[in-house]
C-alpha cells in the first residue's frame, strides 16, 4: 500500500490566483547555492496501481537560472517525465531536458536511471553535436518536445523502462513525431522490488536558490500528459488521460517546507494546474521579504 501525496488543491488554486501580477523585470537565481535543497515541482499519479508504468508529456523548453557560478559549480535544473519509486530506497527513471552547468553551461537532453537511491549512476547528458545526438539540435528555449518514460511490459516486450524523445506535433498530439528510443534500464520496478512507483511530470532544481524552468511571463508548460499503469498480464496497458481515474497529485516536491501549498517558502516556485493534462510552472526572483509574484 502506497502513501499518497497530501494535496491541498484549493490552496494551489489560491496561490496561483494570487500569483497574477506585474511580471518581474528579470529573474535571478541566488549568487550562492547554499546547502543542497532539491525541489521536484510538478504532478504525480499512482491511480491505485501498485506500479505506474509510464509518464509522457509535451514540454515547452524554458530557461533555468542556476545558483552560484555556472562555470564551476556544475549544478543543474531540469524538466522531465519520470517513473519514480515511492518508498525507502526505491529509485527512478526519467528523461527530459536539463540546464547543465560546468564546461558547456548549456541545455541538453538527458536521461537518468537509478535502480535504487544511492546507485552509482548519475545523469547521462546527450550533447547535440552530430552522431549520437538527437536530430533536433539543442533543446532551445521555446521549442517543445514530447518525453516518454515507459516501462515496456507484456508479451514481446523487454520488460525494461525506456527513455523516448520526440519532437512536439501540434497536428497530432499527444504522441509527438520523429521519436527516438534513446536508452533503457536493465531493470524494472517490479523486478527491483520497489514498494511502488508513480508517474511523474516535473521540473527540478538541486537547490532552493536555483530556478525551476519558466518565468512568470513564459511558463514552462507540460501538456498532453498521458499515463500508463502496470497491470500484470500479456497485454500492456495503453496510455490514458491522467484524469481518467482521478487527477494527478499536485505540488510534488521534495524537502520543501510542508505548507501544502504550491509555492515554496520564498514564494519563488509556482504551479498552475490548467486541466488534467496540462500544468505550468515558473519561478519568481529571490526576495523572501517581499514575495514578488
Amino acid at each position: 500500500m502506497k502513501t499518497r501525496l497530501v494535496l491541498v488543491l484549493a490552496l494551489v488554486t489560491t496561490a496561483v490566483a494570487g500569483g497574477v501580477g506585474t511580471p518581474p523585470a528579470a529573474i535571478a537565481a541566488g549568487s550562492t547555492c547554499g546547502s543542497g535543497f532539491t525541489h521536484i515541482w510538478g504532478r504525480a499519479l499512482d491511480d491505485g496501481a501498485p506500479y505506474m508504468a509510464g509518464a509522457q508529456a509535451d514540454m515547452t523548453v524554458r530557461q533555468s537560472n542556476l545558483c552560484g557560478s555556472v562555470s564551476t559549480n556544475g549544478n543543474t535544473a531540469s524538466a522531465c517525465v519520470m517513473i519514480s519509486g515511492v518508498s525507502g530506497n526505491d529509485g527512478f527513471a526519467q528523461n527530459g531536458y536539463i540546464r547543465h552547468a560546468g564546461g558547456c553551461d548549456c541545455r541538453q537532453f538527458f536521461y537518468e536511471f537509478e535502480k535504487y537511491l544511492g546507485s552509482n549512476n548519475g545523469p547521462v547528458f546527450i550533447p547535440n553535436t552530430g552522431t549520437g545526438s538527437l536530430p533536433w539540435g539543442n533543446p532551445d528555449v521555446g521549442a517543445a518536445f514530447v518525453f516518454k518514460t515507459t516501462w515496456k511490459y507484456g508479451t514481446g516486450e523487454d520488460n525494461k523502462i525506456h527513455a523516448i524523445f520526440c519532437l512536439s506535433s501540434d497536428n497530432s498530439p499527444p504522441g509527438g513525431t520523429g521519436c527516438y528510443d534513446y536508452a533503457n534500464t536493465n531493470w524494472n520496478p517490479s523486478g527491483a522490488s520497489w514498494f511502488g512507483a508513480d508517474s511523474v511530470w516535473a521540473g527540478e532544481t538541486h537547490d532552493a536558490k536555483t530556478d525551476m524552468p519558466g518565468t512568470q511571463g513564459a511558463n514552462a508548460i507540460s501538456r498532453y500528459m498521458l499515463a500508463r499503469r502496470y497491470v500484470p498480464g500479456p497485454i500492456s496497458d495503453p496510455w490514458y488521460d491522467p484524469g481518467t481515474y482521478g487527477n494527478p497529485a499536485t505540488c510534488t516536491q521534495i524537502q520543501a517546507p510542508g505548507s501544502g501549498t504550491c509555492h515554496d517558502s520564498y514564494f519563488r516556485y509556482h504551479l498552475e494546474v490548467v486541466n488534467a493534462t496540462r500544468f505550468d510552472i515558473w519561478t519568481c526572483p529571490i526576495d523572501p521579504n517581499n514575495p514578488p509574484c
Binding site: S71, N75, V86, N120, G122, T129
Partner: protein, 185 residues
C-alpha cells in the same frame, strides 16, 4: 607614413606579446590538468545501467582527433579544472538501443544509430557537481528530510568522436564515497 609604420610595429609587437602570453597561459593551464597518457582499450567495458557499450579500439584505426584535443573537447562539456585525474582512452561506442521508434506504438522502425563509433573516452575523476536528490519523498509525510551526498556526481565519462571531435555522450557517476552519505532515514 613613418608614424603609421611605427604604430603597426607597436601593434604587431603587442599582438605577438599577447599571443605569447596567451600561449604561455594555455600551456600552464594544460600542465595543471592531471591528464594521464592516452591508452587504447583492448577489452570491452559494458555499461548496462546507462545502456551504452564501450568496445576495444579498432586495431587499424588512426584517430584524426588527438587525445589532447579530446580532453579539450571534454573540458567544454564538463568542468574539469578541479579534476583529480583525467584519462583519455581510445575505444568504440555503441548505443545499442538508440533507434527511431513509432510515435504511437514505441516499436523500433529503424536500426540502432550508433554502433562501434571510434571515440576517445575521457574519464574524469574528482569533480563535484552540486548535490541533488532526484526522488520524491511521497512516503515521508512525517516531515523527515533525507540527507544527500553533497556531490551529485564525482566522475564522468565523456565520449568524444575520434574522427570529428564532437562530444557524443556524457555519463556521470556518483563515485565510491556516494553510498556512504547518501542515506534516507
Amino acid at each position: 607614413m613613418k608614424s603609421t609604420r611605427v604604430v603597426v610595429a607597436i601593434l604587431a609587437a603587442l599582438a605577438s606579446a599577447g599571443v605569447l602570453i596567451a600561449a604561455a597561459y594555455a600551456s600552464a593551464a594544460s600542465r595543471s590538468l592531471p591528464v594521464a597518457s592516452a591508452v587504447i582499450a583492448t577489452s570491452a567495458e559494458p555499461h548496462p545501467e546507462d545502456d551504452f557499450f564501450l568496445g576495444p579500439a579498432p586495431s587499424d584505426f588512426s584517430p584524426k582527433v588527438s587525445a589532447d584535443e579530446a580532453v579539450a573537447a571534454a573540458g567544454k562539456q564538463e568542468d574539469i579544472q578541479n579534476a583529480t585525474s583525467i584519462q583519455p582512452t581510445l575505444a568504440t561506442l555503441t548505443l545499442p538501443d538508440f533507434q527511431p521508434v513509432d510515435s504511437e506504438t514505441d516499436k523500433p522502425i529503424g536500426p540502432p544509430v550508433v554502433q562501434d563509433v571510434p571515440v576517445w573516452v575521457v574519464t574524469v575523476d574528482g569533480i563535484c557537481a552540486a548535490s541533488s536528490a532526484t526522488r520524491l519523498n511521497l512516503d515521508q509525510e512525517d516531515g523527515s528530510v533525507p540527507s544527500f551526498d553533497p556531490c551529485f556526481y564525482r566522475e564522468a565519462k565523456i565520449m568524444v568522436n575520434a574522427t570529428t571531435g564532437a562530444v557524443m555522450l556524457e555519463a556521470t557517476f556518483r563515485g565510491p564515497s556516494a553510498n556512504a552519505s547518501n542515506s534516507v532515514p
